[in-house]
Amino acid sequence: MTDVIVVGGGPAGLACALELRRRGVGDVLVLDREQQAGGIPRHSVHQGFGLRDFHRVLSGPRYARRYAERARGAGVEVMEQAMVTGWSADEALEVTSPAGRETVRAPAVVLATGCRERPRSARLVPGSRPEGVLTTGMLQQLALKGMPVGGRALVVGAEHVSFSAMLTLAHAGAKVVGMTTELPRHQTSALFRAGAALRYRFPLWTRTAIARISGRSRVEEVELLDLENRHARVIACDTVVFTADWIPDHELAVVGGLELDPGTRGPRVDTGLRTTRPRIFAAGNVLHGAEPADIAALSGRHAAGSVARWLAGDGSWPAVVPIECAPPLHWISPNAIGPSADPPPRGGFLLRSRDFTRRAALEIRQDGRLLRSGRARLTPGRSTLLPCDWVRAVDAEGGPVQVAMRTG
């Protein structure tokens, strides 16, 4: 009999399954809907994967392969082309695969379904609907298959992933005509930005929105709007890549009746990565906008510890105290505290802000009582690791924990 089903065979799901086997859990099944397990890193041919979990630097595809091979080597059953499409009335998972339609069940389920970039339509960018409008996810796969990606590309977004899209475009022979962000500056490391600017020479238009896309069969031009002076600028290009602006792939969580956190839009989880529904855990980027693969993997590894302890326990499922964020803070993850007050993955909470703040004064309170205060540097699209030394001070019977930035 299957002990644990992990939905999603990316870094989080595979790392979770691997750790479950290491902890002696007998029968672990990973269901992955893609043709090959390994997740998003399969398509990211550049280096930089594996630092935090394997303590070495690997390319995305090698990193993905390593996880799939290790999981299988450890006795995990990894089923590919197997998509979980919903929950049956008796809480089993409905699965479609080339082998047929079946329902599978296990005492514990881990959702590790990852996240995706918001495409153009979800961002309500008006204009015509020509070919050549991509997300980074699609761009990387087109490039990997050696299919055309266009000749002159505009990159929307200025996060790490946006620069990664820029590299993919350059390697595929496309000229990057510019990069835009609605924020006042880019969100990648200064070194990376400087290197990219020097090597590829393209403008970065900050405080700039995409006002319109036009073109009949293929993109012909894009109208940019300067958000400061409302001036319009028209850029001739045949490709637009919408990068970042992540949203968790939370469909299975929502139809399963799990509560979502309004900030992350992923399932609400406590520090043991337990969701609000008994026996369902969640890990990795389904919990929040994209973190690097190794951080997602460590989240999966952390969930495995909780799952293993729960399987060995009395089967009770704890009530939690939610953690809420006030603007400009965007989200915090995990976003609940259970009575056992476990430490979160990597010993800290991931905190995101919508604004750049160099030395933000942060306060954590419950029912007005100050649990912690401190300073942190906040950059939109990048997480700050918030210490967790205050979780034992949380009153399990009290109101929500509030995280806020003090002004002045």
Binding site: M83, T96, G100, R101, S121, S128, T135, M138, A211
Partner: protein, 460 residues
């Protein structure tokens, strides 16, 4: 100079939902038919981008041809859809009044429905309205229930009609635009097209947005098409539980207003706008249009706005200076003009075809029914009926029906390969979208965009 006899009995110009329906109808008789389409696919113009409603005709202008054809078309399509695999759900519609003034127009709407012979319409008290639609925004003062309004797939009907026509021997010429036309001395027409010359005894103009231009080539000056753009927003499937019926606005003199409706694919639709244009190709969405729709949506179904947007599109209605269908049968010439068909065209399509066939018969087109008509059944792409990914038998017969390529819309490799090898095959990504729903989902190709392009390229 002597002329050869025309080599065809009927040429139908335009393979939108109306032209394809007429081709289907006429190819059921012993006739040499050709369906000519300027675009690369059937149903790829105005027909693909409407609100996809099955109208009962309760609010049509009484006594008009449109009123009669919508009513009859509703009956015919309701009967045909399940046989042909066209997704159709009779959800019913609620007309919602938001002010005393709008409530005051209810007696007139009821009277008009009764004049149209539609008596199933009824009033709903406010508490009953909110019981039926608990997520309706605050401030509604009353409603009308129209149980026979429904939602239908806009993509499948023209494909089903054209597939059936082709199976009955109709010639389909895609990518063929009409460049000129002359009358033949002994009756009939010579049509110059981008793919060669055609001659025919009878001609049907179902050219939609270009129907006025075709009409003018024959010297008629009956009407001018002014494209009326409608922008629409499609919300994520997770919003589907918010709404049970089609939520209609109380019509004003100029527009039917913005509606909220479920779709047969399991999404929720908000729209349309109504804006007259000059350019017959401008299907762009606009900042102003989308903002207006969101403000209307906020009022009608506030919870909808918190959901992710899956798609935005715009369609052009073939509006004219007349408020009626421009269906004119020039019997002596052997010419039928079927223009100015606006948003009710999908609902009325089979009745329009029946009407045109009868009129052409009156005008001398010999109608000898064929025997052994083929049964055409399109692959189901609606949510209300089982799709291949849940069908154990289909997957067991061919494992490609268990290989989900498009995760968001659950489209399998088997369906994609079938659509690429169909009697009227998908020629491009849009064609594949309309036949399978692939790439139409919330990720818009993030996961499967490259793989689908590869499958498409593999067949070319």
């Amino acid at each position: 100079m002597s002329e050869e006899a025309p080599d065809r009995d009927v040429v139908i110009i335009g393979a939108g939902v109306v032209g394809a329906a007429i081709a289907r109808e006429l190819s059921r008789y012993e006739l040499r038919c050709t369906l000519v389409e300027a675009g690369a696919d059937v149903g790829a113009g105005t027909s693909k981008a409407n609100t996809a409603l099955l109208h009962s005709g309760f609010d049509a202008k009484p006594g008009t041809l449109e009123a009669r054809l919508v009513r009859r078309g509703h009956e015919l399509l309701s009967e045909y859809a399940p046989r042909a695999g066209i997704p159709l759900e009779r959800t019913g519609a609620l007309v919602v009044a938001w002010s005393e003034e709008q409530l005051g127009s209810f007696p007139g709407i009821l009277a008009r429905a009764h004049q149209n012979g539609y008596t199933a319409i009824g009033r709903l008290a406010v508490d009953e309205l909110y019981r039926r639609e608990p997520k309706l925004g605050p401030g509604a003062v009353g409603g009308l229930e129209v149980p026979d309004e429904g939602i239908v797939c806009a993509f499948t009907p023209p494909l089903a009609y054209a597939t059936e026509a082709v199976a009955c021997g109709c010639e389909l010429r895609l990518g063929t635009s009409v460049t000129g036309m002359q009358r033949l001395e002994r009756g009939g027409f010579r049509i110059e097209t981008s793919t060669g010359r055609l001659t025919t005894r009878f001609l049907v103009n179902a050219a939609g947005l270009r129907s006025d231009e075709i009409d003018r080539m024959l010297g008629h000056e009956g009407f001018t098409v002014t494209p009326r753009r409608g922008e629409l927003i499609v919300f994520d499937k997770l919003s589907r539980p918010l709404v049970n019926h089609i939520l209609l606005a109380v019509p004003t003199g100029t527009t039917k207003g913005v509606l909220v409706a479920p779709t047969v694919y399991g999404n929720v639709l908000l729209g349309p706008t109504a804006e007259n244009l000059q350019d017959k190709t401008d299907t762009s969405s606009t900042r102003a249009g989308l903002e207006y729709l969101r403000s209307e949506g906020e009022r009608i179904l506030p919870a909808l706005l918190a959901h992710e947007v899956t798609a935005v599109y715009a369609g052009l209605r073939a509006a004219t200076e007349h408020d009626a269908y421009q269906i004119q049968i020039h019997g002596a010439e052997g010419y039928a003009c079927v223009g100015g068909i606006r948003s009710t065209g999908l609902s009325a399509s089979l009745a329009i075809a029946e009407h045109v066939r009868a009129e052409l018969g009156e005008a001398g087109l010999p109608l000898h029914p064929k025997r052994d008509l083929p049964d055409v059944r399109m692959p189901n792409i609606g949510e209300d009926f089982p799709r291949p990914y849940v069908e154990q038998d289909r997957i067991a017969a061919h494992s490609d029906f268990g290989r989900i390529v498009c995760f968001c819309e659950r489209v399998t490799r088997g369906e994609i390969l079938d659509a690429l090898a169909a009697p009227i095959p998908a020629a491009d990504l849009d064609g594949l979208r309309r036949r399978t729903r692939v790439l139409m989902g919330r990720c818009q190709g993030f996961y499967c965009g490259a793989q689908v392009r590869e499958l498409l390229a593999g067949t070319r």
